[in-house]
């Protein structure tokens, strides 16, 4: 059975690469707009949902209401959810954490230290080289989340909801320079198959 994993286009540079990654792993994946509703996802028969990065400052975008239906959708979905970069920060905000300007923004190569592999980072520890591109970061972990990884300049590189299959990643596993980034997507697909 082919898994269906749509990717929300948040207007970041690497959103299309996320869809490419899922396609290469045998899933059906295409970019969908931020206005997508839960009914749209059901109609698509989505097995999971992923969302990428974008140029937004999440706090400002939430106030201005420029994130379409995303803040609502992220709370509604019961299928596994993988959020990368800016949408990782959005996850933090809507689950009661905080995001804001990074004291040391990361662009290019960074060393990520795994605190807890969980399923999503299975096989990635103890450290790996990932690429980042972010001005903001998660400054306060939401109460229902556990931290899975950090880097020298960023406290929350990866996080997971305590009892839902909801994941946030600050680094970009979808770019070719992140060493073994494909494994993160394979792990995510494996979670669905369980």
């Amino acid at each position: 059975m082919t898994l269906v994993v749509p990717v929300v286009n948040v207007r970041g540079q690497y959103n299309h690469l996320i869809a490419r990654m899922f396609q290469e792993l045998g899933a059906k994946s295409e970019l969908i707009p931020m206005e997508t509703t839960i009914e749209d996802l059901q109609r698509m028969k989505a097995d999971a949902l992923a969302a990428g990065g974008g140029p937004q400052r999440i706090r400002e975008a939430l106030k201005a209401g420029t994130l379409g239906n995303l803040p609502v959708l992220f709370k509604q979905v019961t299928i596994p959810l993988l959020c990368i970069c800016v949408t990782h920060q959005l996850l933090a905000e809507i689950y009661g954490g905080e995001s804001g300007a990074a004291s040391a923004p990361e662009f290019g190569p960074i060393e990520v230290t795994v605190d807890r592999e969980d399923q999503i980072l299975s096989g990635m520890g103890p450290t790996f080289i990932a690429w980042g591109s972010h001005n903001d970061e998660v400054t306060k972990l939401p109460p229902s989340f556990v931290r899975l990884a950090h880097s020298e300049n960023c406290k929350v590189q990866a996080m997971k909801h305590e009892n839902k299959e909801v994941y946030g990643l600050q680094f970009h596993p979808e770019v070719s320079h992140t060493v073994n980034g494909r494994l993160v997507f394979r792990n995510f697909l494996d979670i669905m198959k369980r």
């Binding site: 207007r11 540079q13 974008g54 070719s176």
Partner: protein, 400 residues
């Protein structure tokens, strides 16, 4: 479970789609000699045969004698395509005259080339214009990072009303590595399938700031030397850039000097940082930054020691562009001379799969050093040669 991209399936489905779309109409294809447009031509030729009219616009910003070389290569099997060259150098020089801003240069280039293509398509009664636009082109353009010259419809520009043709972009969903797979499958020859990419606006985006014929000539000479010497080290892309020796007088250079001195180990006895007045394009957190370029020089006796460890230099660059938001690029001084005060030359060499991210190729110091000396000797007006130590992000591959 794991399926990679299937070139054969891709070509078959594109050929069928193009056949039913174009029918018996004629289509013009804009050729640059790069892997994208050549692969596009091979697919189109398979679909519509001699109704395909290949054209190359000689903008004056290609490499030395490149239009003729491309025509010759295309005329031979397996492609056997007749290429018409349209000479348009004066039109481009006029359109770009006096423009300093990178985006304005790119837009002026785009307007000029589509006006010429439109005229030619009308003259040859071609209803369609085919171009080799690929995924990073529209992703970067729509994301506001930079205006790629070959992105129109994705920006809402109505080509039929504005230029008189309908666009066909068979490769728009692919990345460079996938295009190369298609090129190999179609047997277009390794000189095309493995060719290093060359930007659409050509040397326009490597001749940083205002363009004049002397500066362009210096760049063409440097380009030839760099391409000849660096090929053996197999970066995916390698080229020369020219900047003018006009520097900003600010406390920023002192701040970066201090950061450099405290980051490098053992501490260099002397650090000198220049901030260029010419700006360059970068991408930080998915946002375009048209920012500053820092040239970092250490004393002659220390140059080799730090130059041998490119990974450490990239770490230094990371600290600089993280600490100073207005900075998008750091360059490391390879060599300089007293004479020739007008230009600084930059060598850029990167590794990348798909051009969405790129890392700096660790070219051995002795190669860089020799190359630097050759450039200083042969490029008139050059005073300094730098190595670009910035990945993408925060820089883009090209300077503008």
């Amino acid at each position: 479970m794991e399926t990679s991209f299937h070139a054969e399936e891709f070509v078959d489905s594109q050929v069928n789609e193009i056949k039913s779309r174009v029918g018996q109409e004629k289509a013009m294809i804009a050729i640059s000699g790069g892997v994208d447009s050549t692969t596009c031509a091979a697919i189109m030729h398979r679909a519509i045969g001699s109704n395909l009219k290949p054209i190359l616009i000689d903008t004056g910003f290609m490499r030395l004698n490149e239009p003729e070389k491309v025509r010759k290569a295309l005329s031979k099997p397996p492609l056997t395509l007749p290429l018409r060259i349209v000479r348009a150098k004066p039109k481009f020089m006029t359109a770009l005259h006096g423009i300093e801003n990178a985006e304005e240069k790119r837009k002026a280039f785009r307007e000029t080339i589509y006006n010429i293509l439109g005229e030619n398509a009308r003259r040859e009664k071609c209803r369609y214009l085919v171009q080799g636009t690929i995924a990073p082109d529209w992703i970067e353009t729509k994301g506001g990072i930079k205006t790629q010259h070959n992105v129109l419809e994705q920006l809402g520009i109505r080509t039929l009303e504005k230029y008189g043709f309908t666009l066909i972009e068979p490769l728009a969903s692919l990345y460079k590595d996938q295009v190369r797979q298609v090129a190999r499958y179609l047997n277009v020859g390794t000189q095309f399938s493995e060719r290093q990419p060359f930007p659409g606006p050509g040397l326009v985006v490597r001749c940083v700031g205002k363009i004049d014929s002397k500066k362009l000539h210096a760049l063409k000479t440097a380009t030839e030397i760099v391409e000849k010497k660096l090929g053996d080290h197999h970066p995916q892309q390698y080229f020369a850039v020219v900047l003018e020796n006009r520097f900003e007088d600010s406390s920023l250079s002192k701040d970066i000097q201090e950061l450099t001195a405290s980051s490098l180990s053992p501490k260099p006895d002397e650090v000198n940082v220049r901030i260029f007045r010419d700006k360059a394009t970068g991408v930080k957190g998915d946002e375009r930054v048209y920012g500053k370029v820092a040239g970092i020089g250490v004393s002659k006796t220390n140059r080799k020691r730090f130059g041998e460890d490119v990974t450490k230099l990239v770490e230094l660059e990371g600290r600089i562009t993280s600490t100073f938001p207005e900075l998008v690029r750091a360059l490391y001084l390879i060599g300089e001379q007293a004479k020739g005060s007008r230009y600084s030359l930059v060598i850029r060499a990167i590794n990348t799969r798909d051009f969405m991210t790129a890392d700096v190729t660790p070219v051995p110091w002795n190669v860089l050093n020799t190359l630097g000396n050759t450039l200083l000797r042969k490029v008139s007006g050059a005073s300094s040669v730098y190595y670009d130590i910035t990945p993408k992000p925060p820089a883009t591959v090209e300077f503008e």
